[in-house]
């Protein structure tokens, strides 16, 4: 069984860390980071051409991480593949024994490094979950029999700070119907947003992992406030970063404290840490969080 699933079932606070495949074929840094977090997380979540930029694939990177003894979470978006390619990718994950799959709609091609590329979106996140659920039932989306049935533990994403938030909750319900068992949130920095969201979704049958992006500077926080939809960094955190001598350390501290508080208040069932190229800091965040 998937470690992640097992952790949730045991009622443990699950931790995953996000990693992006390299642009190119040099996996040295990724493997170093993997070694640094091995044993500290339940899964390593690998982005799928994140921000619509060309990288090595999520599946190949998941394999490398598996070889390093970590449990991968395969992210898969609807942007670049039609339903044949998506199911093929899912089956390939199945062959490698990769069970955790995170279904995403995906950023639009126009925001990436090949803006002229054709965006596909044959399946949205709900469709990907439906496809994976069908495969788990031994058939493809068209009802054709499979030789050998894969097993997945399916997840999806949600943006708790969204107006109107009800629209996110409605979609979350569909994702659960389509097979999602766990959700990662967009990065959250304030308890109030999570409290509201937990209240709104308390009757839904799925695990919730708070998204954590450690801040590296006050400038980064301000940038995210102004430019990244669904992200809100409270002023007091920006002030803390401004005042701090070692901003990165302060960001790690803020992230750790936040996870700890979220856990103590029972607002989430786990945390998903997106360190954006600084995965070596994940253990320090977990130390701070007491995990």
């Amino acid at each position: 069984m998937s470690l992640l699933k097992e952790a949730f079932e045991k009622g443990e606070f699950a931790v995953t860390a996000e990693m992006a495949p390299p642009k190119g074929i040099d996996f040295t840094h990724l493997i170093e980071c993997a070694k640094a977090i091995k044993g500290r997380v339940h899964g390593v979540n690998v982005t799928d051409f994140q921000s619509a930029t060309l990288k090595a694939t999520s599946l190949a990177t998941c394999r490398i991480l598996q070889e390093q003894g970590l449990e991968p979470v395969l992210q898969i978006t609807g942007r670049d593949r039609n339903r044949i390619a998506i199911q093929g990718e899912l089956l390939s994950a199945g062959v490698f024994g990769i069970e955790n799959v995170l279904a995403l709609t995906g950023d639009h091609t126009t925001v990436g490094d090949h803006p002229g590329a054709m965006p596909v979106y044959d399946l949205d996140s709900v469709g990907i979950l439906q496809a994976a659920s069908a495969l788990m039932g031994g058939k493809d989306m068209s009802g054709n029999e499979l030789a050998g049935t894969p097993k997945y533990f399916l997840g999806a994403c949600v943006t708790p700070r969204y107006d109107p938030v009800e629209l996110q909750v409605l979609k979350m319900k569909k994702k659960i119907k389509a097979g999602a068992r766990f959700f990662q949130t967009q990065a959250v920095y304030d308890m109030e947003t999570l409290r509201n969201f937990r209240e709104l979704t308390k009757n839904l049958d799925a695990k919730l992992m708070v998204g954590i992006v450690p801040l590296k500077s006050a400038g980064m926080a301000k940038y995210m406030n102004n430019n990244v939809p669904g992200i809100f960094v409270p002023d007091e955190l920006i002030e803390r970063l401004k005042a701090a001598e070692d901003k990165v350390k302060e960001g790690i501290k803020i992230a750790g404290e936040f996870i700890k508080a979220v856990r103590e208040e029972g607002l989430c069932d786990g945390a998903h840490i997106m360190a954006i190229g600084a995965e070596e800091n994940v253990p320090a965040i977990l130390d701070e969080a007491g995990l």
């Binding site: 709609t105 925001v111 009800e166 979609k171």
Partner: protein
């Protein structure tokens, strides 16, 4: 309506680099409303071509350019000119240009870029509204098209990316279609529509080119 824009004149000249004598054809409907294929634009094209050393043998505003029988009839009046001309410039939409091309033995070049099926908000302002997807979803979306107006064409609700003021993450000058659909359905008391999983679209119906023959659909048809 089919919304078209003028092609850059240099592109048209490039098509015509080996042509000396031309005929210009406009269209009385969409292209006229879009101000790319009515009388003033045809005359403007005539003037510009003449300034560039071309000889314009004749011109006509087809009524409309997308009606095969009508165009065949209209072109009879230009028989002489067309037999002498080296090329035709069409100031209709892509459909009209294809009709013209079908009915002429000399090259028919497009003078416009066909942009989208859209609504005339007011003269000079058009909004893209329909991609002719072949399986209309408007029945459950409150009349707002997610196929066209959501940048990702999503059918199961929004991505997480809309901005604080409800704009699309992909095109910040556009309202997020899904927030609009939500607001509209809320007003109509039909938010339940958003709980139904919409199956992935069936692209098998989009094998182009499509044809519809009403005679096949209705045997009483007197067409």
């Amino acid at each position: 309506m089919v919304i078209s824009e003028k092609k850059p004149f240099e592109e048209i000249l490039e098509y015509l680099k080996d042509a000396k004598k031309v005929v210009i054809l406009g269209c009385s409907l969409c292209a006229t409303v879009c101000r790319v294929g009515g009388e003033p634009e045809v005359l403007e094209m005539k003037k510009k071509l003449e300034e560039n050393g071309k000889q314009v043998l004749g011109y006509k505003i087809l009524d409309p350019a997308c009606n095969y029988m009508q165009v065949r009839k209209d072109l009879k009046g230009l028989k002489q000119e067309l037999s002498e001309a080296d090329a035709v410039i069409s100031l209709a939409c892509g459909d009209g240009t294809q009709t013209i091309a079908k009915l002429t033995d000399i090259p028919a070049y497009p003078g416009n870029n066909t942009m989208f099926i859209g609504e005339v908000e007011r003269v000079g302002q058009y909004e893209e509204v329909c991609l002719a997807c072949g399986n209309c979803q408007l029945g459950w979306t409150g009349g707002i098209c997610p196929v066209t107006k959501c940048s990702k064409g999503l059918l199961n609700g929004p991505c997480g990316g809309a901005t604080k003021d409800g704009k699309c993450e992909v095109k910040p000058e556009h309202d997020c279609a899904w927030i609009q659909i939500y607001e509209k359905l809320k007003k109509l008391n039909k938010l339940d529509n958003l709980e139904v999983i919409r199956e992935p679209r069936n692209y098998a119906i989009n094998v182009h080119p499509n044809r519809i023959d009403l005679k096949d659909v209705c045997n009483k048809c007197t067409l």
